[in-house]
Symmetry: C2
Subunit: 416 residues, 2 copies
């Protein structure tokens, strides 16, 4: 057996143990791991510097290199994250419903651990600690395959997390880092159906597409957000401008930031100059259709490609439509089904937008930036699901669990 098969078999074996441990025991591991991260931060920083040096030698620089960096404050953040997860209530064991059937069988639905969860991610080493914490809290063994740029850091983190596990009587391999960071190991992980119950990609659009297109293991697709704001003819235009600026500029590099602004033609002449001026003040590049260029000549001409692009940057595409129907059609065509918002004072338009837009989160009169596990009140998240199976929208602890039916009988047999 190669590395992944060995790790898979080990994780599957450990999942049996993890199904039985109590919340209190899991929380002790999480808190101890948080403390150990701080105690051993010099070792982490040393490993991380080695990774940075290799990355720089391989021509990695700028934001890509920055993602890889761990310093005292980031390690502090990771430790706090684990303590926050420890403080959340444990979804495992919850009975969601229980009913007595006419034949006397008592049938209940119970939340139980997923089993073995694989995570494929890129160069951010904080994902390692976060994924470990969320999987352990929900009673699953985890197999984490980060990018090759962060391998020294990840192996150092693995050692620390495994120490916290072992000290508390847990099998150390409850979390395992994949050492082979080749493309082949990623592909193999995507086919590890025998051992993995779930595979989650965390990273950019390219990584997610590769995982979705190649995995036979059940995958939850996360993250890509070509989010739209539609400003209706009846919108409060001051509110519309505020929300647009917030959704575009408050944190442009995240998946719930707005990428596209759709404007009703009746208010285009009044709204475009104002909103574009505000966007310009915030250094946002505007790529518009002809009507936008007419009312704001400084805008660049948008291409077909712009409508479908998640910029993750200070750029926005803007177009004008003649009706709510046209707006819904445009959004439906280009949306990645993450988050969309209508700004309107019209009751029927608000209801139609909520009903007819097929995205994970559909808003009336609010910024798309709220699509987030913390903002939704889950307290932690593993990502934002943009697919329809199992979990949709921000995924909290519950979404990392599954259910089973438990049935209490008194000798019932089936006759019909």
């Amino acid at each position: 057996m190669n590395e992944l098969q060995l790790k898979g078999a080990k994780a599957k074996e450990i999942a049996v143990f993890l199904r039985k441990v109590s919340s209190g025991e899991k929380n002790k591991v999480l808190v101890r791991a948080a403390d150990l991260l701080l105690e051993k931060q010099n070792a982490i920083i040393t490993a991380n510097k080695a990774d940075q040096k290799n990355a720089a030698a391989n021509g990695i620089s700028g934001p890509l290199l920055d993602r890889l960096v761990l310093n005292e404050s980031r390690i502090q953040g990771m430790a706090e994250g684990l303590k926050e997860i420890a403080a959340l209530s444990d979804p495992v064991g919850e009975i969601l419903q229980m009913e007595k059937r006419p034949n006397g069988l008592v049938i209940g639905t119970q939340r139980v651990p997923m089993g073995v969860i694989g995570i494929i991610f890129e160069s951010r080493p904080n994902v390692t600690v976060d994924a470990f914490g969320l999987c352990l809290k929900t009673g699953s063994a985890s197999i984490l395959r980060g990018g090759k740029e962060a391998i020294q850091t990840n192996l150092t983190l693995e050692k620390i997390l495994q120490q916290a596990l072992a000290e508390n009587g847990f099998p150390a391999e409850s979390v395992q880092i994949v050492k082979d960071t080749s493309r082949e190991s990623a592909r193999e992980l995507m086919k590890l159906n025998e051992y993995l119950d779930l595979l989650i990609p965390r990273g950019g659009a390219g990584l997610i597409r590769t995982v979705v297109e190649n995995s036979t293991v059940p995958v939850i697709e996360t993250g890509v957000g070509n989010c739209h704001i539609y400003v209706d003819d009846s919108a409060n235009l001051e509110m519309a401008a505020n929300i647009t600026i917030n959704a575009k500029t408050q944190r442009p590099g995240v998946c719930n930031a707005a990428e596209s602004l759709v404007i009703h033609s009746d208010i285009a002449g009044q709204f475009i100059p104002v909103v574009c001026e505000h966007l310009k003040e915030k250094n946002v590049e505007i790529r518009g259709d002809e009507t936008v260029l007419k009312y704001f000549p400084e805008a660049k001409k948008a291409t077909e490609e712009d409508w479908g692009t998640e910029y993750l940057d200070l750029i926005i595409s803007v177009n004008v439509v003649n009706s709510l129907d046209e707006a819904i059609k445009h959004v439906s065509k280009y949306s990645t089904k993450h988050s969309e918002s209508i700004i309107t004072e019209n009751y029927t338009h608000a209801q139609r937008f909520l009903n007819e837009i097929d995205s994970a989160a559909v808003y009336v009169n609010a910024s798309t930036r709220f699509t987030d596990g913390y903002e939704f009140g889950f307290g932690a998240e593993i990502g934002i699901s943009t697919q329809k199976l199992h979990a949709r929208g921000p995924m909290g602890l519950k979404e990392l669990t599954t259910t089973k039916y438990i049935i209490y009988g008194q000798g019932q047999t089936r006759e019909g």
Copy 2:
């Protein structure tokens, strides 16, 4: 574009329409389709006879040929099935929860249609009508790919179902039968990520394995059941015998029938002769380990392969263990995670079995035959999920839907 791409694009377009129709409108189509099936039963039977003739010419016979056959009573059953689906309450639109956040945002979770559902199945033409009904009721367009043996029947059924749709103002292609029944078309359907939200295989273990191992579209794995009955040392042995006989023989060809009996050694000498004699009376072939052969010499010797086999026939594997731990280990090793039952009067053993067995349905003192949408009170089912994502156990109408977040704001923007 080839057939599947055209059908996929059409279905995706129609899904927009189906998201908006009311339950009443959908129910009218279902009832009209039921009536049309009866009105046009001669056409169905003629097409089905042509399929049977071709199948016989290709050497298909026995139960395989029987599955293909439609007669008046089976058509009656299909029509009644549609009317039952019409009578069920529609899960679409239900608000699962709604909460006001501290910032005033009102965030709700709403049940919405899946979109486009693909079903791959074998030669039973009743699956065509059943899948159409379940998908339409839950607001999804369906693409149905049945086996080549049933293609004439399926195309006749498609015409009838599409007539019922068109007469009620629905796009006829809300249900579409794939005409190309080649192996290639099945493989292509498994990769149709652009158009399909979900793919469900309905059929034997081979079909399900092929779909799971080759699909990049999200799949729900259904059906294979190597179900166990464990008779504990403290079991009421009369109850244990009744349940074993029921679970094995009441309908041996279905996925929730028991395939394997695990017996505690302390009661082996007392229980084996009795239960085996009863099984023998019901013409069940017994394949046992050495202890079983000792107490019931007529049994055949079981091989390693027997422990993992779903017979779907009047055969049962029987082995003896020395403890509950051994029983849990044996079941966990060979189970397909469908349904397992412990027969015991010991409270702690019952609780441990419920907690530690990782199957979709875990029973105490009842027959595994109850794992079924009707028996669980769902009123209809598309299959029994044996995987952990999205749905586990019997899948009713709710499991064919997804959710979205709907958020009512008053101009909220995000600051932190």
